[in-house]
Symmetry: C2
Subunit: 215 residues, 2 copies
DNA sequence: TCTTAATAGGTAGTTATACTATCCATAATA
DNA sequence: TATTATGGATAGTATAACTACCTATTAAGA
């Protein structure tokens, strides 16, 4: 039972152990078409390799970290298999990460447009991301959260810094496959990172607030 | 059947219509203790007011927008009822919004510490937010997403701008109750706003990328 | 007043998602 | 050769979030 890290061929038991997923779960993912079948060697035998392990880690990130339902996970892994481009892969992940909520709020759209044209963004108004932004502004409006809406420009500016950094961070791996994998995993894993950092920043500034109130 | 917006007393049917939730769902929330009981007028009659409608909208935001399970929603609304302070309420919402993932990765912790002490943040290492940030860095490390980790400072700086703006946007309503409501709803609704704005920024910069590659 | 609809509160049933368990024939392994 | 593992199929489970139904009232309209 050799288990060198270099060895890529393995059977179900080892795939299970190295991925941390149970054999029934892996079989389930195979049934659902999330995990590509192994290379068959007989009627009831197959071998799996590094790509299967990577796929399982990707599925794990999409489900555990991003909290996506398996239907959306399937859409993402299909796109990864489709071998489009980094930017196209990013678009697919974006769509998967956005929870659709149809809105047709022209007032909210106007508020958003003013803020993003002020920074010279050109972006498709038909994209799910745009609709999600409009929906968010509409919710803030109906809840009368004017303090946040009044600071929309500040959020747009911060978002620009994040988006620029995201694009800047697209790796320069040799193979397109690896670059796509980096984009997809990066899109999924950067979200909780930024969110946690924002919460830490809130804590930092909240200390100042509490201190100034005590004085 | 007068339905003036000023009128605050209403019965179940109107509460259902104005909240957009079905009567069985509202009854379910009453059973689960998410919605405070109405003022009883007889053995099988009760009247509800504006506060019940606001509570239902809050529950809706926490479930639909933030995607929180009802158990966490209960924790948040209990805190809102508890009438602590704005900062304490923000802490409770933070904890509810973070999905716990125990990690004890000292390497990741060191990477994070370097980045946040560089900006002079003081924040509790025992907080869920800190653990979430460590967990995010650890995931990025295991997936070898060095391009993102190399740009941690940029994300920290952007997070600082967002966190500062969040604290700055705490409303100045007269009653503590309303300010707390603003903090809780703001924490929940600002998240998808920023996320959507980041995606739009990605789209903007992706256009540049595609054009420069075409040339 | 009479009739119809609505209500509080309770129990039980439903739906969707993501697994998990069992079985069987076959193949690998000790 | 005896034991364990495997692929494939079918069926069962756990949980969350409702949803339906029932009963004894109460409200409201003709």
């Amino acid at each position: 039972m050799q288990e060198a890290a270099e060895k890529s061929g393995m059977r179900m038991a080892e795939l299970s152990r190295r991925s941390g997923l149970s054999v029934p779960t892996i079989k389930y993912y195979l049934r659902e078409g999330l995990l590509q079948p192994g290379r068959r060697t007989s009627v009831n035998q197959a071998v799996y390799d590094r790509t299967h392990l990577e796929r399982l880690r990707l599925i794990g990130a999409l489900t555990s970290v991003a909290g996506l339902p398996l239907a959306k996970v399937r859409a993402v892994v299909d796109a990864v298999d489709g071998q489009a481009s980094e930017v196209e892969a990013m678009g697919v992940v974006q769509d998967a990460l956005i929870d659709e909520a149809e809105t047709d709020d022209s007032a909210a759209s106007a508020i958003l447009d003013r803020a993003i044209t002020a920074r010279g963004w050109r972006c498709a108004k038909s994209s799910p991301a745009y609709r999600a932004a409009v929906s968010a502004v509409a919710m803030l409006t109906t809840e009368n959260l004017t303090p946040i809406l009044d600071r929309l420009d500040a959020y747009v500016e911060a978002a620009e810094d994040v988006g620029r950094t995201d694009l800047d961070a697209i790796g320069d791996a040799d193979s397109l496959e690896e670059r796509i994998r980096g984009v997809v995993l990066g899109s999924v894993l950067r979200r909780p990172l930024l969110e946690a950092l924002v919460l830490l920043a809130q804590q930092h500034f909240a200390q100042d607030l509490t201190r100034s109130e005590e004085s």
